[in-house]
Amino acid sequence: MNWMLISYSLYLLGSVFLTLWVGRHLHKNGFAFIIELLRDVELSKNVNNILLIGFYLVNIAYSLLVLKENFTIHTLHETIELLSYKLGLIITILSLMHFCNIGILYFIHKKYIHYEPHRH
């Protein structure tokens, strides 16, 4: 049983799925913030899509780059440990990106804040 292959495949599946899931979630829910900032629905839709593609690219590239491990594993419990370490790293990076995105939108918004009520 080639545990290394199994764990690589599971890691890839897991990290791609996570990237897609978090990306779609941000795409749907971050839309309101971009509208707050840019005040133009069409422009916001396009900016949202651009940010989504950028997010996918950065995250999938990172998870592919850190795939390789120099040791080899022989048992099930080592597989679980390796997967937990790698997927944990990916999830932590994703959460950092997530909060960075929110933070950037928030600070830009603070700079250009309008005090009038929300309207379209």
Binding site: V22, H25, L26, K28, N29, G30, F31, A32, F33, E36, T75, L76, H77, I80, E81, S84, Y85, L87, G88, L89, I91, T92, L94, S95, H98, F99, I102, P117, H118
Partner: protein
């Protein structure tokens, strides 16, 4: 070796369960906070709620997975219990700290929003507040 796998599985089930439960409680009740902060803007408040909830989940799951690996040998059930108690205890403590940080953050944000925009009550709250005032002034 088999006992370690069992303890990993139990650890994952318990930790993920605690994380999901805390997230549901926290962000189910935070909706009211965000409605007040954004002065009734339903779309913005819903979006903030979902985004922060997702961030909470990501943070918790990342930490749970990082904490999972152990170099201890587990040979019998007693050692399994002891290992589980340490691991799950660390997770519950950490999730508690993140939870409290979130709650304090929400309070702070609401304070800031009120200083900037003035306190706006929702319709029900305003109605019940007026009823109470009438009672007092009677």
């Amino acid at each position: 070796m088999n006992l370690i796998v069992i303890s990993y599985i139990i650890y994952l089930i318990l930790s993920i369960g605690v994380a999901i439960w805390v997230a549901e409680v926290l962000f189910g009740n935070a909706r009211l906070f965000f409605d007040d902060i954004f002065h009734g803007d339903q779309l913005l408040s819903d979006s903030t709620n979902k985004l922060l909830k997702m961030g909470f989940y990501l943070l918790c799951f990342g930490f749970i997975l990082f904490q999972m690996e152990t170099y201890q040998r587990v040979n019998e059930f007693r050692e399994l219990f002891e290992l589980l108690s340490i691991k799950v205890g660390t997770i519950v403590l950490t999730i508690g700290v993140i939870y409290l940080a979130n709650v304090f953050g929400f309070f702070k944000i609401r304070q800031k929003a009120n200083i900037r925009g003035g306190l706006r009550l929702t319709n029900d709250a305003r109605v019940s507040l007026e009823a109470v005032e009438k009672e007092i002034l009677k």
